[in-house]
Amino acid sequence: MTDLWSLFLSAAFVDNMPLTLFLGLCTFLALSKRPESALGLGIAMTGVLGVTVPLNWLIYRGLLAPGAWTWAGMPELDLSYLSLIAFIGVIAATVQLLEMLLDRFFPAVHASFGVFLPLLTVQCAILAGSLFMVDRSYGFSESVVFGLGSGLGFAVAVVMLGAIRGRLAYADLPAGLRGLGIAFILTGLMSLGFASFAQMAMSQ
């Protein structure tokens, strides 16, 4: 249990997707101009990561991993190189399914951040979640925790950046730094802050 908890914390803070692993930066920067849209993106990310990582774990273990076909008499078969295509397919389908479910049962939620869902199909952080799961050979429960943790970490980071940038809209910045330039520097500063989590984990 404590292992899972520490995995959750490390996925959310130490290995924060946008700030320390540079994942999902395109949407991270594009949608953090306002806190509201940042929150929507964060929630969508948590939901999609929490679903796709365990789902891809099942697909990978059941169909693609070396030895998955032992029961069919082909223990040496290794289809793991197909995981990229399979993962992308699963992610695209999940995103579409989530969108339909939300539209049907929670129209208000769908209206407020449904627009971000289709974007997440081609989001590096989502795919990276599944790839890390394979790379680090997580078990099923670990993959659930890892998915939720990284999603939450992304949400925290993007909401914080959104809040800061909302304030900066009125700041008198040098022209060349306006928008993207200052967003990078802010992200760098936040990343410095998150780097201290890594120190905490080490000193434990």
């Binding site: 697909i59 169909l63 693609l64 076909w69 082909m74 078969l77 289809l79 197909l82 295509i85 399979a86 397919g89 699963v90 695209a92 389908a93 579409q96 399914l97 339909m100 479910l101 539209d103 049907r104 129209p107 209206a111």
Partner: protein, 407 residues
Amino acid sequence: MTEILLGSLVIMGLVVGLAMGLLAFRSRLLPSGDIGLDVNDRMHLRAKRGVRLLDVLHGFDIPIPAACGGKGTCGLCRVTVLGDGAGTPQATERGVLSPRERRAHVRLACQTTLSGDCAVWVPDGILSAGSGFACTVASARMLAPLIREIVLNMPDDRLSTFRAGDFMQITAPAYRLDFATLELPEPFREPWEIAGWSEMRVSSEAAVTRAYSLANRPEDAGTAVFNIRLAVPPPGRETEIPPGLVSSWLFTVNPGDSVTASGPFGDFHVRPGTREMIFVGGGVGMAPLRAMIHQELAGGTDRRIRYFYGARAAADLFYSEEFEALARQHKHFSWRPALSDPAPGDRWTGASGFIHEILQAEMTRHASPEECEYYLCGPPVMISAVLATLQRLGVEPDAIFYDDFGA
């Protein structure tokens, strides 16, 4: 070999399985079938779920104006929608509609996707206008390199409701055009050659409708006068962006041809009162302002009227003699044309500069610019520059009326 086969099978199985699963869920989750739509409590329409309100209304011959072609920028397709089926306003609508309009359930028909039953209210004039009527072209002439004046003969029962500032919708059928075949009068041939407009080609597969302001003077009763500017693509992008579908077609019509139009519609009108009126126009923003000025002067108004009109060079300036004559005739009317980029051969002695600069120069000398009413019509860039100038002059927004022809 088995590996290749099995690998392909796995991927295919996965993709097919996911697609089937999605489709199954979709049919379970999203109810299909038609939805009901009440229009003005009088008409009851049935439409497919998930289509745009604008398309439904157009499909039932309710000619909601849409100058921008359904991109959500012109704001002409405002309708009132009640019912859950219309969803919540999109981000595009929030830019166009005021908070008061949004509270009153006003939506842009082109941005509203129908997912359930709802009730719609459109202006009564539009509902009775029908799908448009056929007019014949009375005359057509080039006014400037890209501007053509087209006069349509109206059917007898039309135009009785015309007010200066109104617009009409013109529908272009499917057509193909090679601009090289266009016959241009001599003085305009050279700018066309230089800009390479003669090499453009355009084709349109379906009927397209756009809105154009009327430029009628009182003596034009029984006809509809339009100033049509050919919407050419920005320089250097001729291969990517086609020229305007309806304006290109209108450059091909000749006297005697038939044109389908509907209207007139509009809410850009002169407000009654006694305040001084300032008109600011650019390009084909001429049309509604010309109609308003003529209507006011012919009505014997004693309000002071100033007309600022901006063009690029002398070739782009049209109706100039007409307004000079009006200014000579009426002491309280003044005509202030300005060229932003006079050509060397223009022998231009009038004002040079952008029209908002000329406006600012004259109005800062005015005793009380905030006491005047402002009517603006022109390209969006001009409108925003003039609005900024007026703000600096201390003019309240409710004294400014404008139409940026939805570009």
